[in-house]
Symmetry: C2
Subunit: 438 residues, 2 copies
């Protein structure tokens, strides 16, 4: 029944194995929906000896990428080796041979997107990358297709499962960052070197891709302000709770008149907001379109089978194009390449939001007046103050939230405040998002 | 720049006006994404005199459907008149003239889907109906495309905004059903005759469509068990809270071995489940795929601009097909028509779930023993009991929750219990969904 469509898979790790498993287990279902069979013809990996949890014919396995590249029967390649140079040259070579590409490599696309998407355009092939942002959650499809009639007013996303797992555990179980990180590493949720996840780099790759799809803009990764979660401590989580907030690592994009504001940092959000209730290692995306209003999507952002599900979505999408004799029916980056232009992101100095400050003050008279005096001269208006808690290492926490203030003013004020002789340590700053989330 | 694609719109009410507004306001953006212009060439309505909030050239308006049907330039028609006969004949006639169709008419598709989709197949035209289920939320696209590699293990949906608004208000503000319904009618959220929304009929249309897309099955609307919210009272909402539940009108589909369980009824769900936090008139869908795991989507299920957003998604989808010279790239009902078969839904008698009962008992000795005795003989095992609260009209509420029990046994037991001389009124039954939601 129907046609066979041959696939070549490079990278036979966890995700690669998941894809083989899914194509095997749901073979009949996929064939029934698609009207064709997706057949893995070749799998390339450096290690073809270690057994995987799926059984696969020996002659399908190879260590030579040319076995995929030079096979004219293979029309779609799946790139899962990750990293930059090797993955990039494989993808470019495959496209030059008119093969369609499916990849989950967000780092590569965020960094070398220009070159890769240009070649795809020249060769008239598809690049599927649904798995690269939000794992199993249909983020790419929603931005490129479902919300096509909308100006995307804002994107608020929890895009990194490891960070969300750590912050959720800290909040729910009152365990400090280091302890939870260690647990996550023991469970295999976090890498031995967790920098990529907890410092916001992974989130920045995903936000860069999201921005390009939402706004048709080339985003320079370095322009995105990025701050991770390693400085968050239990004290801040507790104070957040008193103000009615939870702390989440958010990726934020806001469409302003001529510029786009894009930033990644720990953010206090109202505890009853739908994003605040995203627990464990889940990912979630909150889009606001000018027509659609709020659209919220939630699911697994990583993991063997959820990622495989997104890859199979891309495979079927391209197979459906092939069966109609077409390609690139939907512009790969949401806008036709010729309509994509550069953008200068808004400088972090210019953003305006609410702030949470935790000052470490010596318990002396006049502390509050000195701090609030400096805030006042920088046009920062205080919304609430909490001064309580035990002395730690000679200082007490003085906590404030502000009305909307400009980041430049805030940074200048904090620089002055941290020089005061009544202030014992660097002030903790966490940004608050409130009404813009609605 | 680029090509013009001509549209004919029938039904110039709220949604129709929203579509015109969106195509006008975001004309440049849509053209930039699509590479073509969507141009409304004709709008047909019985009333072309009353001014709308959009300005439109007089010569575009007509009262004669033939002005759309006989215009060879018009390649996509948008049907927004609702109802059955007139809408159906318009859609069939348009398809016979090789025009693609976009509609939000869930009632029509759920009832006459067979005939309509068969003609679409014969004429090789598209039918877009993203707006018919979940309004602006990309439900159709997610089922047909994003989750294409998955067996859908279950669907739990809040598919009717009016019912959810009423239940949310009752829960949050402790106001009785009648009062909230009246308020909703005054605000224009609920119809003068609210039956369609509050008795589950609207939800059943949407569940029938969801089932056909998820499972490739023809579903007979009458086979879906349907129970509305008009019997829910504040007492039950309060007791639910004591057990850790909220009451929501859920549409439920569960894939069993050879059968599918489908039902609509007020349901108690754990208060910390993501579906329990869907407030106001929002809709939400919780799919569990065998690979994807949980995928949760949330947004506006109705309203002028959110619905217009979904309609524009369909318009662009079909325009993209047209620009590539193809149609029906994605099977309209998720599976190619020849692969769609009938299904007998599971009989309601055979479902197994947990139950909440509120018995209205006279305050006499032996009440509890009589009730629990009958439950025991029907193999219904009690999980928790609350007996408290003031006497109302001579009876006191005795409330129980059960372990998993079979509906047939439950109905038989309640029939016996309601005949007891210690029971003063018909027992209230609400089904509970717990672990299957995870």
């Amino acid at each position: 029944m129907g046609k066979d469509i041959y696939l070549g898979l490079i990278g036979f790790g966890t995700i690669g194995t998941g894809i083989v498993k899914l194509l095997q287990e749901n073979e009949d279902l996929i064939q029934k929906r698609l009207g064709a069979r997706l057949v893995i013809k070749k799998i390339v990996d450096l290690d073809i000896e270690t057994p995987r949890i799926v059984s696969i014919r020996k002659d399908i396995l190879s260590t030579d990428t040319n076995d995929i590249l030079n096979d004219p029967d293979i029309s779609i390649v799946i790139e899962l080796i990750g990293g930059y140079e090797h993955a990039k040259s494989f993808i470019l070579n495959a496209m030059r041979k008119k093969k369609h590409v499916v990849t989950a490599n967000k780092a590569l696309l965020a960094t070398y997107g220009e070159e890769i998407f240009t070649v795809a355009e020249e060769e008239e092939v598809n690049i599927g990358f649904e798995a690269s942002v939000g794992g199993t959650i249909p983020i790419i499809k929603t931005l490129r297709e479902s919300l096509v009639g909308n100006n995307i007013k804002s994107v608020f996303g929890i895009m990194n499962g490891t960070s969300n797992y750590i912050l959720s555990k800290m909040t729910d179980e009152k365990k400090p960052f280091d302890v939870v990180l260690k647990e996550a590493q023991d469970f295999g949720f976090a890498e031995a070197d967790p920098t990529y996840d907890i410092e916001g780099i992974d989130t920045a790759h995903k936000l860069a891709l999201t921005l390009s799809l939402a706004y048709g803009k080339r985003v320079n990764m370095e322009d995105i302000y990025m701050e991770g979660i390693s400085a968050i401590n239990l004290q801040d989580i507790e104070f957040a709770k008193e103000f009615g907030y939870k702390i989440k690592l958010l990726a934020i994009a806001i469409h302003r008149d001529k510029v786009i504001e894009a930033r990644i940092h720990p953010t206090m959000i109202p505890f009853d907001h739908i994003l605040a209730n995203v627990g464990g290692n889940y990912n979630a995306f909150h889009f606001i379109g000018d027509a659609s209003g709020s659209v919220f999507l939630h699911g697994q952002g990583a993991g063997m089978m959820p990622t495989a599900s997104a890859v199979v979505c891309d495979l079927v999408d391209t197979a459906r194009d092939m069966m109609k004799g077409i390609s690139r029916r939907v512009p790969l980056r949401s806008f036709p390449e010729k309509n994509i232009d550069d953008i200068q992101l808004m400088s972090m100095d210019d953003i305006v939001t609410n702030y949470y400050f935790r000052f470490s003050a010596y318990d002396r008279p006049g502390v509050l007046s000195k701090i609030s005096g400096i805030l006042g001269t920088h046009n920062i208006s205080i919304a609430a103050v909490i001064q309580k808690g035990r002395k730690q290492d000679g200082v007490v926490p003085v906590v404030m939230t502000t009305h909307p203030s400009r980041e430049r003013n805030v940074q200048e004020a904090l620089k002055e405040i941290d020089k005061l002789d009544v202030v014992g340590r660097k002030t903790m700053l966490i940004r608050i998002e409130d009404e813009r989330l609605q």
